[in-house]
C-alpha cells in the first residue's frame, strides 16, 4: 500500500515539475488571459503544491480523476471504456501460455534429459529471447499479410463475440509466446528442486502412487514460486500488452497512454498510469493470496 502511495506521489511531483508553464502547454499559446485564469482556477493551479496534491488524492478517492483536456470527458469514463480490452488481452495471453507452459515444464521435470525435455528447453529459451513486439510484427507479416488468415487492426465489432475472439488470437499469441517458455522453465526448475526433497522420498517409501506424489506432493509446492512470479511479472506483461495494442491498433490502456503522450493530455495520462499501478497492486495481492491459500506456512505468518 505504501508503494502505491509513493508511486502516486512521485508521479505527481514529476508532472508538476515539468519545465514550462502547464497552462500554456495545455491550452496552447493562443489562449487569452481570461481562459488561462479560468483554467488555472479550475485546475487549482493557484494553490500551493501540497494542497493540490491533497485535492488530487481526495478526487481520486471520490472517483474523479479529472477531465480530458480536449474533449472534457471524465477521465474515469474514458479509462473505463478502454480497460476491459486490456484486461481481456492480458488474461488471454497468460491463460494460454500457462495452459501450455506449465504442463510442459512439469513433464520436463518428470523426465529430465529426455528428448521432450531438451526440445522444450531450447524452445523455451528461444521464445523468452524474442521480443514480444517483434513477434507481433512478424506474426502480422505471416498470418495477416502473407496467409491472410487473421485480421490486423482493431478488436472486432462490438457485440460480436466471435469477431472479437477472431481479433484476439494474434495479439494474445504475440504477448503470450514469451511467457510459455518462461513458465515452462520456472516450473521445471521448481519441480526438480522439489522432487529431490526428503518428503518426496518418504512418500515413495510409503508406497504412494506416482500420480498422487506428482500432483499433491510435488506440484503443489513447486507451483508456489511460479505464481508469485506471475504476479511480479505482471508489469512485464502489461508492457507487452501495450505494445500489442499499439501495433494491432486495439483499444486499451496502453493505446490510450500512447496517444495521449503525443498529445500531452496530462489528466488522462495521470489517470491511466494510476490505473496501471492499481492493476499491478491488485494482481500481486491476488497472487499473494493464492500462495498463502496453498501454503500453510505462509498463512501462519500473515
Amino acid at each position: 500500500m505504501l508503494i502505491v502511495f509513493l508511486a502516486i506521489l512521485a508521479l505527481f511531483i514529476t508532472l508538476h515539475s515539468i519545465p514550462g508553464d502547464p497552462i500554456s502547454i495545455a491550452l496552447g499559446p493562443r489562449a487569452t488571459p481570461e481562459i488561462q485564469a479560468e483554467y488555472a482556477a479550475r485546475m487549482h493551479l493557484d494553490k500551493p503544491l501540497y494542497h493540490q496534491f491533497v485535492i488530487f488524492i481526495g478526487n481520486v478517492i471520490k472517483g474523479d480523476l479529472g477531465n480530458d483536456l480536449f474533449s472534457n470527458r471524465a477521465v474515469l469514463a474514458i479509462l473505463a471504456e478502454q480497460l476491459p480490452f486490456t484486461i481481456i488481452l492480458a488474461i488471454t495471453a497468460i491463460g494460454w501460455s500457462a495452459l501450455i507452459g506449465i504442463p510442459l515444464g512439469c513433464l520436463s521435470a518428470i523426465k529430465p534429459n529426455s528428448i521432450l525435455d531438451r526440445v522444450t528447453g531450447i524452445l523455451s529459451v528461444g521464445t523468452i529471447a524474442i521480443p514480444s513486439f517483434l513477434v507481433s510484427i512478424w506474426a502480422i507479416l505471416v498470418f495477416s499479410i502473407g496467409l491472410k488468415w487473421l485480421p490486423v487492426i482493431g478488436a472486432g465489432e462490438p457485440g460480436d463475440i466471435g469477431d472479437q475472439i477472431y481479433h484476439l488470437i494474434l495479439p494474445a499469441f504475440a504477448v503470450g509466446l514469451g511467457w510459455v517458455g518462461y513458465l515452462a522453465r520456472m516450473v521445471r526448475a521448481s519441480m526438480l528442486e522439489v522432487m529431490s526433497e526428503n518428503y518426496i522420498r518418504s512418500a515413495n517409501a510409503f508406497g504412494l502412487r506416482g500420480r498422487t506424489i506428482i500432483f499433491r506432493y510435488a506440484l503443489k509446492v513447486a507451483i508456489l514460486p511460479t505464481i508469485t512470479l506471475i504476479g511480479v511479472g505482471f508489469g512485464a506483461l502489461l508492457s507487452g500488452t501495450v505494445f500489442a495494442e499499439i501495433i494491432f491498433s486495439r483499444p486499451g490502456i496502453g493505446k490510450i497512454i500512447y496517444n495521449m503522450v503525443l498529445a500531452r493530455n496530462f489528466p488522462v495520462i495521470q489517470g491511466a498510469v494510476l490505473v496501471t499501478i492499481g492493476m499491478y497492486v491488485i494482481v500481486t495481492l491476488i497472487a499473494d493470496l493464492i500462495v498463502s491459500w496453498l501454503d500453510p506456512r505462509v498463512r501462519d505468518t500473515l
Binding site: 505504501l2 508503494i3 509513493l6 508511486a7 512521485a10 508521479l11 514529476t14 508532472l15 515539468i18 531450447i122 529459451v125 528461444g126 523468452i128 529471447a129 524474442i130 521480443p131 513486439f133 517483434l134 510484427i137 512478424w138 502480422i140 507479416l141 499479410i145 502473407g146 511480479v232 508489469g235 512485464a236 506483461l237 502489461l238 508492457s239 501495450v242 505494445f243 499499439i246 501495433i247 496502453g254 497512454i257 500512447y258 495521449m260 503522450v261 500531452r264 496530462f266 495520462i269 491511466a272 498510469v273 496501471t276 499501478i277 499491478y280 497492486v281 500481486t284
Partner: protein
C-alpha cells in the same frame, strides 16, 4: 548451447563495432530512384522508402544497441551491486527503505514509465538510457541484497567478525566476490532485455530519433510500409533476435557453469 550463444554474440559485437568496414553504403545516403527495392547483390537487404541501404543501416543500428547495452548494463550493475550490498549488510531501517524503493520502481511496467517520461521531457536516446538504467537497478540490487543477507549470517562471516575484521574489509574481500557471480549472469540475461527496451521505445518513436538508424526505428519504418515490402521488417528483426538469443544462450550456459561448481563444493 553456450558456445552457440557466444558465437552469436561475437558476430553481433564485431559487426557493430566494425560497422564501417562491413558496410556497403553510407547509412544516410539516399537513392530515391532505387527505393523499396528487394534484396540484391548491391543491397543485401534491399532499400527502404528513402532509398537507403537497409543492410548498412542495420549494421549501424547495432552500434546504438551495443552502446545502450554496454552503458546501461554496467551502470545498473555497479549501482545495483552497491545498493544491494548496503541494503543487505547495513542497518534494518536502511534495508526497509531501500527495499521499498526497489519494489516501487519494479512495479511499474517499463513502457508506461517510458511513455510518461517522454510525455514530460520529449524523446531522446539519453532518456531511454536513463529509464533503462533506473528500471534495471532493482533487479541487480535485489539479487545482491539476497546474496548478502544469506552470507551475512553464515558462520564464516561470523568468524571474520570474531577475528576483528572491519565492515569494509568484510564487504569488499569476503562478500562481494561471492555475490558478484549471480549478478554477472543477470547482466548477460539483462542485455537482451535492455536492447529490446531500446528497440521497442525507438519503434514507438520515443527513443532514438531519425535519421539515426536503430533497429527499432528501422522496424518502425518497416512496419509502416509492411504491405509494400516485408524485407525491412525482416531485416530489422533478424539482428535483434540474434542478439537476444545469443546473450540468452550465453547467460544460460554461464548459469550452468556456476551452479554445479558451487554444488560440487559442498
Amino acid at each position: 548451447m553456450g558456445v552457440f550463444g557466444l558465437l552469436l554474440v561475437l558476430i553481433v559485437v564485431i559487426s557493430a563495432v566494425f560497422a564501417p568496414i562491413f558496410a556497403t553504403h553510407n547509412p544516410f545516403s539516399m537513392d530515391i530512384a532505387n527505393r523499396l527495392a528487394g534484396p540484391s547483390l548491391e543491397h543485401f537487404f534491399g532499400t527502404d522508402q528513402l532509398g537507403r541501404d537497409t543492410y548498412t543501416r542495420v549494421l549501424y543500428g547495432g552500434r546504438v544497441a551495443l552502446k545502450v547495452a554496454a552503458v546501461g548494463v554496467s551502470a545498473s550493475l555497479i549501482i545495483g551491486l552497491t545498493l544491494g550490498m548496503i541494503a543487505g549488510y547495513g542497518p534494518q531501517w536502511l534495508d526497509n527503505l531501500l527495499l521499498l524503493l526497489f519494489d516501487a520502481v519494479r512495479s511499474f511496467p517499463t513502457i508506461v514509465l517510458a511513455l510518461a517520461a517522454v510525455a514530460l521531457l520529449g524523446p531522446s536516446l539519453s532518456l531511454v538510457m536513463t529509464i533503462v538504467i533506473i528500471t534495471s537497478i532493482p533487479g541487480y540490487a535485489r539479487l545482491a541484497r539476497t546474496s548478502t543477507l544469506a552470507l551475512k549470517n553464515t558462520e564464516f562471516i561470523l568468524a571474520e567478525r570474531s577475528l576483528g575484521a572491519s565492515m569494509k574489509r568484510i564487504l569488499t574481500i569476503h562478500i562481494m566476490p561471492n555475490v558478484i557471480g549471480p549478478l554477472l549472469i543477470l547482466a548477460a540475461m539483462d542485455v537482451p532485455v535492455v536492447v529490446t527496451i531500446e528497440a521497442g521505445l525507438s519503434f514507438l518513436g520515443l527513443g532514438v530519433q531519425p535519421p539515426t538508424a536503430s533497429w527499432g526505428t528501422i522496424l518502425n519504418e518497416g512496419y509502416l510500409i509492411i504491405r509494400t515490402t516485408p524485407w525491412i521488417v525482416i531485416a530489422g528483426g533478424i539482428p535483434l533476435i540474434l542478439t537476444t538469443l545469443g546473450f540468452t544462450f550465453l547467460g544460460e550456459s554461464l548459469r550452468d557453469v556456476f551452479d554445479p561448481r558451487l554444488r560440487k563444493g559442498r
